[in-house]
Amino acid sequence: MIELNKDNFEEEVLKAEGPVLVDYWGPTCEPCKALMPHVHALAEKYGDKVKFASLDITKARRLAIKQKVLGLPAIIIYKDGQEVERLSESQATAEAVEEMVKKYI
């Protein structure tokens, strides 16, 4: 999984071709931490077809807000730099994320 920050977000997500999954999380977000290993497992499984990345929002708060993310966890799929689907807060379960990823492979 690629660790995103203010400097590489544009290059890795907005200018990327094909589907990119971004896992928005924060160090005090317990549901995020519970979800994270499942997302890593999905990255192992589908990583050759979808690019997996994560962003710690405490290091790029303005960037997250600009992406209209104001709640965690948020799992967003971008395609050719455009947001196409997202799961946030209680919707973001391991099963739901896998279902979403499958649509873009």
Partner: protein, 314 residues
Amino acid sequence: MTDIYDVVIIGQGPAGLAAGLYASRSRLKTLIVEKEKAGGQIVTTDEVANYPGSIENATGPSLIKRMVEQAKEFGAEMKLDTIKEVELEGKIKILKGEKDEYKAKTVIIATGAQPRKIGCPGEAELTGRGVSYCATCDAAFFEDMEVFVVGGGDAAVEEAMYLTKFARKVTLIHRRDQLRAAKSIQEKAFANEKMHFMWNTVVKEIRGDGIVESMLVENVKTGEVTEIVADEEDGTFGIFVFVGFQPNTKLFEGIINMENGYIVTDQDMRTNIPGVFAAGDCRAKSLRQVVTATADGAIAATQAEKYIEENFSE
């Protein structure tokens, strides 16, 4: 699959973990099934100051971590699965999960509760986009911004206080003219310079294009409706909702006796079905705290043991 557990506990929050600890310590074959993540609602709490004997600076996650260790030490099994269907009437209870099927002599329901929603237009669409039910998850977004907290109970006031560490201004919106929260918490809140209060007020609508930009609030005494608009520079504000809880008991509707969705038990945690017990926030009771959840769990496990002795001994 031929395994029959003595006790299957549904839910891995404080009630389920306490039941698991007591049951496994009594050498009962014990399984705790959790659908999502260990801990229940308490894991999103930053400070647990009212659980007697807990370590200094205990947080929800640290408390749960220890409870999980304790239950495991005594031999409780834990599994991630979502129970979809239950057959509780027979002598052997059957729980059908997404992944597996479980058989048990007794069942302890510790499925807890989840935050209730305001139920106004815009709330669902803007969840995760400014509307939040978890302060520890989302406080960091609102550093030096404005946030509103809806509610007047312990959770609302405590979470509002937590948010003052991040936001420049925290306004509590409450439908009554006084708080329901414990007096000690209220005193702290009234003394905090960042805290503001809007009394007799309810949220009617939340608006915004992709993120929260404004909301309509109504004064319930005068009927006056006001629009609160985000500061131009911020472009948004946070709305944290703590307006009570909804029990996770849908699975048992029509099977177990309930009262407003909460499972009714006697003082020994027995439901109307022999061998089926309930513990913690999903149960009809007057105080929903970690301390009462763990107490319920201990009682339920002890009663389950008694039930097994009476009904299954050769």
